[in-house]
């Protein structure tokens, strides 16, 4: 893959994560969270998607994301109160972004969504005065519901802050901003010398007399490295080189902390730096750049308040960089400013980025304080630290690791065999070592498996969207509750989970839940609840989908089953048995073939999929109260508990999950039907019998002794005659498709202790093979293994 394609791939992977985060945050907000960090996170997610999309030339995506971002920004800046924000629109837009991303990913033409775009553009238009739109981040009024009370609160503050009459153009600005404008004039005056230019301070267009500095944020970066900076092999120059040179206004080194020469340890770093930036980057971006090299205590990024003005370069000019005094002054000013801003509105100046400007005094907005018991700054820092320790690894590398571990396990079991032939005194010692080795390899295997494990969140995250869309299609009100999203399973299982889950939720939405009217009539709240829960139980992952709908319509189901001849006309079935019929093939109780059901994908397909993964599905229904589907799956597909069996010279592995019981051939009554077909009587049933060696074309002379009773996908039983049961063990599943192709009768292969390959039997595929080969003569040519 060429580097660009690879980068693009990474971008799309990230998009998936970002979309998940976006949806999660929007959902939280929709459900009543007023945490401004949620708004910021949503904004950041769409911003990142836009950025990446721009880099890869996904114009449609960029265009949409841009409008979306802009409307989210209204929220971020408080122009639209969180409570009034149209989150359902945002959620639909997030779905639209997901569509655009997947279209871009698959190089398909994107479906334009003018309706959504228009709706987005209307967000915040009604009450957003023009100057406010141009207002940069630093002066954003408080977010959330507090917005409504702000103008009243701001006015007196403005007067207090600005005894001088406000200049003409500032009058047009909202009162809070006017106050700030005056404040900035003060800042400039205090900072020394520069003419007070407040009258063009809020003009959108830069003043003609603007000095050559380009517009952007003025950011102060204070770097106070630990004394071991050099010992960490970090060179300050390299640190600054991260920043684009044209953005750096000045770099000041404070040497006042350097100890006297006679006591200095030259490997210590005592220098402190102050960098002033005029940059297009946001505070976060600057922060991000340094986050790699320096720890978060070592540097501080501040958005200078004067950046609020486009021609505020005066601050930089007025600040003779090397002087420590001046910087103190401006810090005083910043403190004043923050204090005043705190009075102005309920949020501090940099409410947008509370985590990044910890220096700003925390004046909690009432709205935020109510919702977030913990300081949001800490949360954000913690989140960042968590991110820092995780690594994105190509699954292929982990597969290689897994392979290697498998090899070690084989080598080790080979060693065990070799050691047995040693003289006793040497044997004892070696055996001890090998015992330790085997414990370690087992541990290694577990850890590699753990590396492959991922939270089921990846699939769960897709479900809210599905529910939203279905709810709209079906005209139902549904609340989806997710639990245990952090339950971890192997990556391979995660990929396979999506389909069954989607079908189960579809089923619950379509068949389970009633319409709001029906629910009200049944004395239930109009909004139905679907619960999706994941948990670990006894080495399996158990996922349940519970709805509080009408439950399975047993009579209808039974009648349908009888009409299809699946159940005898006079047969009496227990209620639970009737429920199980839902998994029978071709039974759809949907009266109308809708968009959602009747596509020929029923619960029977779900069951087949689940069982092919070595899992089980069950249903539990209570009429009128709801229905619960429970899915139990192995934690991984990479390892399987298998029974090793022998036929002639060949060994096979049959998954324990499909084995019901084993018995001696000699003690089982066998009947011969036509064409050599054999059946055996087992537990009062007639069960077909197949001789594995013949079916699979094993080499060597077969001498069948054992019958394995196995279960097929359809729930029927079948007897498989084999020569010997060699043992039971965990085997590492290896694909045959990768280097060869599908093999009839086998689902995959594994490597046994002696390094030889054994096929892992797939009972159903084996039966199909038996059916085809018994009627036509087996190939004459046999292989001499």
């Amino acid at each position: 893959m060429d580097p660009l394609a690879e980068l693009k791939q990474t971008f799309f992977q990230e998009c998936e994560e970002l979309l998940g985060a976006l949806e999660l945050k929007l959902q939280a907000l929709d459900e009543g969270s007023t945490d401004s960090e949620d708004v910021n996170a949503a904004f950041r997610a769409i911003h990142s998607i836009k950025g990446g999309a721009g880099a890869f030339g996904c114009t449609e995506l960029v265009a949409f994301a841009h409008v979306f971002e802009a409307s989210l920004d209204h929220l971020r800046s408080g122009r639209v109160a969180i409570a009034d924000a149209p989150f359902s629109l945002f959620l639909r837009c997030s779905d639209a972004v997901a569509d655009l991303v997947s279209a871009a990913r698959n190089d398909e033409p994107a479906r334009p969504r003018p309706d959504l775009l228009e709706a987005l553009e209307r967000v915040g238009q009604a009450d957003a005065p023009k100057p406010a739109i141009a207002a940069p981040e630093a002066v954003k009024p408080a977010p959330a519901k507090a917005g409504a009370v702000q103008p009243e609160a701001a006015k007196p503050a403005a007067k207090k802050a600005a005894p001088k009459p406000a200049p003409a153009s500032a009058d047009d600005a909202p009162p809070g901003l006017a106050a700030l404008g005056n404040l900035l004039a003060m800042v400039e005056a205090k900072a020394g010398g520069a003419p007070v230019a407040a009258d063009d301070g809020w003009d959108d267009t830069p003043a003609v007399s603007t000095p050559p500095l380009k517009p952007g944020n003025d950011i102060r970066l204070s770097i106070r490295p630990d004394s071991d900076l050099f010992r960490r092999v970090i060179e300050p120059r390299a640190v600054f080189a991260i920043l684009p040179a044209e953005d750096i206004v000045s770099i000041t080194c404070d040497l006042s902390h350097v100890p006297p020469l006679e006591t200095i340890d030259v490997t210590d770093c005592w220098m402190r730096f102050t960098v002033l930036l005029r940059t297009q980057m946001s505070v976060e971006e600057v922060y991000g750049k340094f986050d790699f090299t320096l720890s978060s205590e070592e540097f501080e990024v501040e958005l200078l308040a004067s950046a609020a003005k486009d021609d505020a370069s005066t601050v930089f000019e007025a600040e003779p960089a090397p002087s420590a005094d001046v910087s103190e002054v401006s810090q005083d000013v910043a403190a004043d400013l923050s204090a005043i801003l705190a009075r102005l509105g309920p949020a501090p100046a940099a409410a947008g980025e509370p985590d990044i400007a910890p220096a700003a005094p925390a004046a909690p907005s009432p709205a935020i304080a109510r919702q977030a018991p913990r300081p949001p700054a800490n949360d954000a820092v913690a989140a960042r630290q968590r991110q820092a320790v995780s690594v994105r690894v190509d699954l292929e590398r982990i597969d290689k690791l897994m392979n290697l571990v498998g090899e070690i396990v084989i080598t080790q079991s080979m060693l065990v065999e070799c050691v047995r032939s040693l003289p006793y005194d040497i044997y004892a010692k070696t055996a001890e070592g090998i015992l330790t080795l085997s414990r370690q390899t087992r541990e290694l295997q577990d850890h590699v498996m753990a590396v492959r494990a991922q939270p089921v969140k990846a699939v769960f995250q897709r479900m809210p969207r599905l529910v939203r869309e279905l709810a709209q299609t079906l005209g139902k009100e549904v609340r989806l509750v997710l639990e245990g999203e952090n339950t971890e399973v192997d990556k391979t299982i995660i990929e396979e989970l999506a389909d069954p889950l989607t079908h189960m939720i579809r089923n619950s939405m379509d068949h389970g839940l009633e319409t709001p009217e029906d629910r009200l009539a049944a004395g239930k709240p109009p909004e139905g609840v679907i619960k999706l829960v994941a948990e670990h139980r006894a080495g399996r992952i158990v996922i349940s989908v519970t709805d509080d709908g009408r439950g399975i319509g047993r009579e209808k189901l039974l009648a349908k089953a009888k009409s299809r001849g699946l159940v005898g006309a006079d047969e009496k079935l227990a209620p639970e048995e009737i429920d199980q019929l839902i998994f029978a093939a071709g039974l759809s109780t949907a009266e109308v073939i809708s968009d959602v059901s009747g596509r020929g994908v029923g619960m029977d397909v779900v069951r087949r999929n689940v069982e092919s993964l070595g899992g089980r599905i069950s249903v539990d229904s209570e009429p009128g109260r709801g229905c619960k589907f429970t899915l139990a799956l192995p934690l991984t597909l990479a390892v399987l508990e298998g029974m090793v069996i022998r036929c002639g010279d060949d060994r096979y592995v049959i998954p324990i999950a499909s084995v019901i019981e084993t018995q001696h051939l000699a003690s089982t009554p066998i009947e011969h039907l036509t064409f050599g077909q054999e059946v055996l009587r087992w537990r009062g049933e007639v069960t077909p019998l197949h001789r594995l060696g013949a079916v699979m074309g094993s080499t060597g002379t077969p001498n069948e002794n054992i019958i394995i009773i196995a279960e097929t996908e359809r729930g029927d039983n079948v007897g498989i005659a084999v020569d010997e049961i060699v043992g039971q063990q965990q085997v590492v599943v290896k694909s045959l498709e990768g280097n060869y192709g599908t093999v009839n009768g086998a689902s995959a292969a594994t490597i046994l202790g002696d390094g030889l390959v054994a096929l892992i039997l797939d009972v159903d595929s084996m039966l199909r093979l038996a059916a085809s080969s018994e009627r036509s003569p087996a190939p004459v040519l046999k292989m001499a293994g």
Binding site: E407, S735, N739, T742, V757, S776, P779, L781, M783
Partner: protein, 168 residues
């Protein structure tokens, strides 16, 4: 500079400077060759696990350090029956179409550089209906048949329709 030395050497003799480096191996008294770039490794014969009802030239599958690959009997492919494999037989492990495969041959002979211009197209023989041979190279007295590996492994994984057809 150094990289081109080899090509230069040939380019003085041949106007076309391109050279193919070929691994040659024997099945019976016949010599076959494939590009060295396709060869991953060469290993001694090792017991394979037969696959049910696979094509005759598919010997079975093998574990190559955790990777499972199929071994194809070249002797069977060219219509000479099964190789009676012994410890002296050799499996040439090749990369082909994103897959790894093993080729069972009698012995590996040599690695030779052949100018591209010396490769003749395979004669259009009726017997070679599978198109196993991509070209011929005359090397001293031997005729080296360059193998089209994709054709060698082609009918392996696919079930032949004759086997699934059910006579009623």
């Amino acid at each position: 500079m150094t990289l081109q030395l080899g090509e230069k050497h040939f380019s003085s003799a041949q106007p076309e400077s391109a050279v193919r480096r070929i691994v040659t191996f024997k099945v019976g008294d016949r010599t076959f060759g494939i590009d060295v770039g396709m060869v991953r490794e060469i290993k001694g014969w090792q017991a394979t696990t037969p696959l049910p009802h696979a094509a005759p030239h598919v010997r079975g599958v093998l574990n190559l350090r955790g990777v499972i690959l199929a071994v194809y009997d070249l002797r069977t492919s060219i219509g000479l029956g099964l190789t009676d494999a012994t410890a002296t037989h050799v499996i040439v492990v090749v990369d082909i179409e994103d897959k790894v495969a093993g080729l069972l041959v009698d012995s590996v002979s040599d690695i030779v550089d052949v100018p591209v211009s010396a490769v003749r197209p395979a004669p259009d023989l009726e017997r070679d209906e599978h198109g196993l041979i991509e070209g011929l190279v005359l090397l001293d007295t031997d005729i080296v048949a360059l193998l089209d590996l994709a054709a060698v492994i082609r009918d392996g994984g696919v079930e032949s329709p004759a086997r699934t057809a059910r006579p009623n």
